[in-house]
Symmetry: C2
Subunit: 200 residues, 2 copies
Amino acid sequence: MFTVYGMADSGNCYKVRLALEQLALPYRWVDVDPARGDTRSPEFLAMNSNGKVPTLELEDGSFLPESNAILHYLADSSRLLPAGRLERARVLQWMFFEQYSHEPYVAVARAILRYQPPDSPRRSELPRLLERGGRALAVMERHLESEPFFVDARYSIADIALYAYTHCAADGGFDLSAYPAVGAWLERVKAQPRHVPMAA
Amino acid sequence: MFTVYGMADSGNCYKVRLALEQLALPYRWVDVDPARGDTRSPEFLAMNSNGKVPTLELEDGSFLPESNAILHYLADSSRLLPAGRLERARVLQWMFFEQYSHEPYVAVARAILRYQPPDSPRRSELPRLLERGGRALAVMERHLESEPFFVDARYSIADIALYAYTHCAADGGFDLSAYPAVGAWLERVKAQPRHVPMAA
């Protein structure tokens, strides 16, 4: 059985839970709270020296960090990851896009509004985060105007990776009504078999 | 034949060139300068709507962006990418680490020192970039204290991805002498067959 060390309100951790649920893989969930310092403890750093959630414990007792690497591991040889060389690279294309061009803006704006006090100096980051996150949403909108899912016209871990922080982007101040193709894709993702929402 | 749309001084573009050279794959290189606005032109955005280099043109005329997705595509079924499910996920673990926890600090500090004027207000970002980039180098150091390469004791695209901006981290103000295991790994990477340096 897998063990997920994660935080329920983190999109990166939700990705892993959604994939485990959709692949019907049994797992145990251990709550880890970075704000409480849980990810900087010697015990946690021994599992993941980068001190981040999610971290997956495999059946052999070894540990795998990085949400999108975990998705790739779980989905390998399943319907959630195409087998073709180019299709796999395209799945990774969108997953690297998510971690570099989307998450650092869309997820961070949400984290500031949800976890920082109203007078936090970090609020000054919001205009830049909204501008850069809006660019990422526009790239997604353009792609989804002519495609039902991110790769090969079928649901994959690329969709799971991008769904995690896009579906709750309004928490960070993003107006999703400006991206109708993204909105329609969110509904298609939500309609997939064995979908589970982020909140526990 | 592949075509790389890239910028010679970019580590992300260098990754692709190094893999093509080491796999002995023929390619054409087209210089693209983001500072000149080349990546915001309608022609470039039609190839990659995210407006970034490198972008690879495949033999069928389609385009693949994201340096690490390109590495995965090029190295698939080669000695540079292990075949096992867990080993592949570990390669991706380090490549996602590179794009999320390393490049945004190590590469950005270098870009500010190389391309911004000495009185640029962006210099105020440097202390934070050096602190966060130093954390990434410390994670690498800890791993390399007991491993010759990032995954499975052999050279792979995980090493190529991390070498690209680590070997020139001093350009961004990082002191690599503080990371001796990283320094020894840089030498092992440089000694690989068909290695080419970043500068043209």
